[in-house]
Symmetry: C2
Subunit: 470 residues, 2 copies
Amino acid sequence: MLSTEIKKRITSVVGHENFDDSKAGCLVYSYDATPQFQALPDAVVSPRNTAEIAGILKICYEYKIPVVPRGSGTNLCAGTCPTQGGIVLLFKHMNQVLEIDEENLTATVQPGVITQDLIRAVEQKSLFYPPDPSSMKISTIGGNINENSGGLRGLKYGVTRDYVMALEIVLPNGDIIRTGGKLAKDVAGYDLTRLFVGSEGTLGIITEATLKLIPMPETKKTMLALYQNLEAAAQTVSNIIAHKIIPATLEFLDQPTLEAVEEFARVGLPTNVKAVLLIEQDGSPELVEKHMLKIAEICRQNEAVSVQTAGNDSEAEALMTARRAALSALARLKPTTILEDATVPRSEIANMVKAINEIADKYKVKICTFGHAGDGNLHPTCPTDSRNSEEIERVEQAFAEIFEKAVALGGTITGEHGVGEMKAPYLELKLGSAGIEAMKAIKHSFDPHNIMNPGKIFAKESRKRVVISN
Amino acid sequence: MLSTEIKKRITSVVGHENFDDSKAGCLVYSYDATPQFQALPDAVVSPRNTAEIAGILKICYEYKIPVVPRGSGTNLCAGTCPTQGGIVLLFKHMNQVLEIDEENLTATVQPGVITQDLIRAVEQKSLFYPPDPSSMKISTIGGNINENSGGLRGLKYGVTRDYVMALEIVLPNGDIIRTGGKLAKDVAGYDLTRLFVGSEGTLGIITEATLKLIPMPETKKTMLALYQNLEAAAQTVSNIIAHKIIPATLEFLDQPTLEAVEEFARVGLPTNVKAVLLIEQDGSPELVEKHMLKIAEICRQNEAVSVQTAGNDSEAEALMTARRAALSALARLKPTTILEDATVPRSEIANMVKAINEIADKYKVKICTFGHAGDGNLHPTCPTDSRNSEEIERVEQAFAEIFEKAVALGGTITGEHGVGEMKAPYLELKLGSAGIEAMKAIKHSFDPHNIMNPGKIFAKESRKRVVISN
């Protein structure tokens, strides 16, 4: 609990109306989209501008109060769960697109802007902001930057990191810095911009961002290829890329996922096949046509039992929307849904899918797998029940083995969700102890009192998932 | 000078044949491509592998000996001048392309690989490594990564940073870490990969890199647009981008540069116009054709006096090679050539070119300007004579004002050359004192004894260029 003195000082910065330490108010922000993590903050604070954030941080720095920045809380790594209490910092007042600069192809935004709102705003000017996490209807750009969010278009267009050109940041001591600029090239010192992208709120608070935009592709087409053989689907992915074609999206869904999604979205997805590839290409009409023909040929060569092209834009949009709803669809199966994002080099997709299925069998748990096959970013998802501790134990063991397998195949424990508190115990698997020490040194240099989203990224102990509840 | 004990320990790691502390040997590595900087190292060491580098660093860490990693020394920021003595680390034995992975579209290389050799090697497999610094015939990939080199294709394809997927690094204490992987998506902790890209050898030694490749564009075309009005040329650049066309290259050369380049390269560049835009587009034949027609139209609308398309590949190649030779051509005019890389948002190109000419007049110095207009990265270049201290003083003042103007226009002091020792005094202009402090904290956390390329990036004093000679 915050002392009266601290409460008084914070409200003098943001006003009483933007400070909430009621039980009900705190309960709302005691969890995020990650199952199994819940903890009450001491207060929820909603600043209106950068100066107020600097004011809050100075107070928190002085009193060593944890600060947890939070957009819409859609993350899946317990990245915004206030597991050490302190202040949850909300960006509801800082949700404006400040500028769309058509000459420099940039958008400057506040962190609270909803991802899809930005995408729609720039589309109005025939511009394109590619990063499209599945949660984009509700996620915020600030959250996307802090987690370096990926999405379906990552294969061809890259991830959030590739679109952040400049940041305004409030450091833990209240200092305000600006990194980068509307500049395609800038090598003035260390790349602080990209150090902050994906830093999960552990180094400072991002208060403004300038994002790169690109011209809107002229056209796009969507294709569905059906398989009765998982490995043939995976092999198709490698073969498409090896033919020097980079599709805009190249998604994989296995049969259990297809069943759940079709049950949920009713868009006519087949449920009688072992796997589906959902493939989208964009660009000039001639190129899209040429690529789609070649991709169809490669699919058939790899035993696709059917290759269908979406008849029109709304049919294509329905397919993509259904795919984005996979988590929501799977979440209806059981009370608890654990969705991970183990990622491997794309040449290892077939091996990884096979390993996931073997691990699921070994621990007698159900794991549905879907994901961004083109960039090796899979989403093994387990519908389970957190009240069944015996099953949860097996689920945890299965995921631990999945992470180990991903790293053994040259992959990583998290492709796009972030480490947060959930995957912190596994980070050493990927980085080794020297890598962790290097990161800890950076953390300490920015945040000596460990007030910025404490408990995230760095685990107290390794290899065991930490579950904290309040 | 190194003690007999230290010398004995280092030679026990690399062998006598890879250790040179002769006067002649040290003199060769006492300078790089940057004028006005020279200092003798204590020894030149050529390790054969990562383990030897770790061994050397452990010794240097223990005795606090400066270590200056050096590729081909083509940098223009005194980034590899051993201004505080110590060891120059050469990569002549570590110059292999270890793997080209066609399934994951990656190349894994040692740091001493020559940039153009890599580009040619991947072209054999119809793959493309876009970063193309003008020095690419002699520069090394290790140097490119340490400086985050740009090049002519930066506008459309980005810079070195955008192509580094994984690094092996020896930290100052001799620990070896591996960052990233053959992964389009990886958010396991802070982005150490990109922190090291552009860190100018001040945080650790990069010993291996995995680079992203992309499919080779099907075709390309090259166009030359001539102007009698500098501002019209600059306006053309903005208009092309505003029409949602991103050319592969979009280069600007002013009349004095054209004269020098034509005198040097004899490719038929016009010397009777005020400025030239050299424009290249690549992609599918249909798209290239469509874009080139539209670009030609935009050039003419902006008062281009002539728009010519290269008749064939060899004519196009000759134009691009001539452009890449601009520094060599200008270097023939006077004994000393100072080439800078002040960079602005592309909407400010016209203002910046105008300001450079006004500043040159004010200080009565000759400044030729060329550069990557499409990404706002200009190269104001001054042919001068370092023996004429009065003139050099005016040159320094002119460049200080150019840096200030670039920052005032929302730009940066260096777009692609790096800070090194040369621009260190100006870094605060761009970053402010809080930004510098944040970077110093990172530096200290990796390199507490300040042995990694000391004197680079961080200046002893601000706003005054430090000239050190031995």
